[in-house]
Amino acid sequence: MNGYERTFAFLKNETVDRPPFHPIIMRWAARHAGTSYREFCLSPEAKCAAMIRCARDFDLDWVTVMSDPWAEASAFGVEVAYPENDLPVDTGGHLPDAASAAMLKPFDPIEHERCRNRLTEIDIYRKQVGGTHFIVGWVEGPVAEYVDLRGASEAALDFLMEPDHVQQAMDVITESALRFIRLQIACGAHCIGIGDAFCSQIGPDLYRQFAFERQKKLVDGIHAAGALAKLHICGNTSAILPDMIATGADIVDIDHLVPSMSDFAGMLAPNQVFSGKADPVSVIQDASPEEIRQTVMRDYRDAGRRSIISAGCEITPDTHPDNMRVFREAADAPEVL
């Protein structure tokens, strides 16, 4: 089975030779390929070459467009700097207040370079690994995008103080995301990830007030356009996991801060899976090979064998390639199968 076949079969609950292996690699991929992070973020050719090389060198079942959260924010007017070998940073152009956020206008992805680049990346993947690897596009979720546009502290206060303005802004964010989703799927994405990181910090009430219905709308939009949906929220999502599952996302990412997948595995629909949840620092980067194997096996068992093998979040750039190999080989362990 190749990565494309394995992932689709696993999601359909069909027999597979091993669980799919989908580690999130961004800075690690750039480093492995000897590409500067600036180039990785800004050049579709460089990003795709790095990701495909990693997928081949480490037997990954997927390729993704993930690098940084600033594509949509740039389109909404945030200024972003791209240091040579560091993460991009927002340098200005943020919305000054919630009232300005409520006046936000939807953007057309075709008119903005970072968004166009994402479409090019998916096109490259489709041409080069379309039949062999699971291609995942990406959009920012409503909460994460609002945070990108306003700043985390300001956004958090807006949620309580100016909820009506926030709702208006998030409607526009969701509309723009849907447009971007459809274009990515038309280019060849098999799946779209929705990154809504800050949701783990706002609690279940605000999650339901602002995020749940919009994430569900994005998932429904992805399904309607013929692709699968993945929902990624970093941090301890225990309090919102039942709702995350209820969005209908096909793949629900679980970070290592969630104590165990066992409490939630029974909530999955037959064609839904988790993806996670090894700690990228204390396990994948720093632990012994045996500890990595044991962690993967424990998590897989806890998930009722319905979890893609992955870390809870991004693999750190300092993770040794040997640890990545051990991580991948853990998916072959008899206890996992």
Binding site: R27, A152, S153, L160, Q201, V281, E314
Partner: protein, 221 residues
Amino acid sequence: MDDILNKLSHCIEFGKTDRASPWPPDMKDQDGAHELALKALELGHSPDLILESLVAGMEVVGRKFSENKIFVPQMLMSAKAMKAAMEHLKPAFESGRAKRKGIFVIGTVQGDLHDIGKNIVAMYIEGNGYEVVDLGVDVKPEQFLAEIEKRPECVVGLSALLTTTMINMKRTVALIREKHPNQVICVGGAPVTEKFCRDINADFYSPDPQGAVTFLNKLAS
């Protein structure tokens, strides 16, 4: 505790900044921390006693945060309410009429621009009666050193959100230790662990702000 001081604690607990604030909805049109702190001073309550009531409210906030009963937005609202009340107490602290428990110097380490965790910790510690010197984000080790030299009795807090920048904590701790081997250094942030704290020779790690205050209170007692 006097009624007005109880009300003040309540405002901190529920993040009622001032009368005009729409949060929380069930306290609409009621006085907030700003008005009540002013009134308490006018009624003759000592700044130390007023601070005690603020700390009592903040302790409940910290406990609820640790127990996942409230989350970052509510924590920030409480910190904002605390700040509104503290504005009225500042002159008393600055003149020496009221005492702080100690000084905490905090910043995100060089290369890290993410300040929400640092802000929450800073506000929570300030709300628990400490003077907080917030050096902001992307703080060079030399800036921490300069602050330690200005305030030798301080405790230093290093924050990092990213696995890439937590490495700079190690460098900062090493540079501080070189000149001030006994300096107390706390570390925190999403990727930081107890083990990492030990590995880089820092003194204390807590996954939440309440743990940091418990540690500081032990040092201060």
